[in-house]
Symmetry: C2
Subunit: 188 residues, 2 copies
């Protein structure tokens, strides 16, 4: 399974590709950081991020796109831009017919370092070690994109099984409800 991990952002958008080689095995494929100037109009910045996502999807043919789930408790202004960037990335994946998975920052940190509150340096160190890189990926956004891809390599299969189980449960609940309704109608 090949995962395209994206740490969404307008000023810096980390984007990386990791292959899952079975079990806990992960292999580095590529990483970069897309930057857009802060003084550029928002639509032009979104276009640059969207075009980069399209190019990376076309160039690396990932099986799935993993995106960091955005929360709004932090800086209000920057979180709006981050949400918009994550929106155009999810759209790029949807247009390419690829599934999109979201992971929270603490899920990503817990996956790669074992601690949900790990700092950026710890994440970078673990990503460098796990992918056997010669040098730590810089800036932190590049390491975060790779961490997200690794996290999905490990959590994705479980997430899929959970989603399938939930869908089955919902289907069963619908059937059960329909049978109850039919029985109630028959009893009247």
């Amino acid at each position: 399974m090949r995962v395209l991990g994206v740490d969404p952002g307008l000023t810096r958008c980390g984007i990386g590709v990791v292959d899952s080689t079975g079990g806990r095995g992960v292999e580095f494929v590529a990483v970069d950081v897309v930057r857009t100037p802060a003084h550029a109009p928002l639509p032009a910045r979104l276009l640059a991020v969207a075009d980069a996502a399209d190019r990376w999807i076309a160039a690396f043919s990932p099986d799935v796109v993993a995106v960091e789930r955005v929360f709004s408790q932090h800086n209000v202004r920057s979180v709006m831009g981050t949400a918009q960037a994550s929106g155009v990335i999810a759209l790029a994946a949807a247009r390419a017919g690829l599934p999109v998975a979201f992971h929270t920052p603490s899920e990503v940190k817990a996956s790669v370092t074992g601690a949900g509150r790990a700092d950026k340096a710890q994440v970078t160190t673990m990503v460098t070690r796990l992918l056997r890189l010669d040098a730590p990926p810089r800036p932190a956004d590049a390491a975060d994109a790779l961490a997200l891809a690794i996290c999905h390599c490990w959590r994705g299969p479980m997430q899929d099984r959970m989603a399938q189980a939930q869908a089955r449960a919902a289907e069963l609940a619908r059937h059960h409800k329909a049978r109850l309704a039919a029985a109630a109608k028959g009893a009247r």
Copy 2:
């Protein structure tokens, strides 16, 4: 000038077209509300909104796209979806080579009703009157999209002049700074 106004959202996304006929003259062209099911995956919902924006841009050839500026002080969960929807709409405009203008909800309300804190009913009433519609546009998201388009018909030209003046001022400041730096270098 033809304006495509969008009240971004995932559950309901209002989309409307208004022509500015000079001065305060505005004419209704079209309106609709794009809905996506709450249980659908986010990428599929963003794709539906993006495809609708593409279709409306192709069908009505607007000169500009006006989008409601999203704030995050309200419901955190829904505001993220709204921000992501506004992102894919701005992207659709950028891909079509169209300028995008943002107006805040209070700018829109103040424009069409004269009061920045007007309620939804007042906005709908004024939109119906200004566009000489036979019936009020329903739901409120449809009226909001038209209100946004009207707001841009009236505020857009001023916004453009402000942006040009700001760009000129920034250019002058750069020149001035460069001359000061050159003078300081000469004096050393």
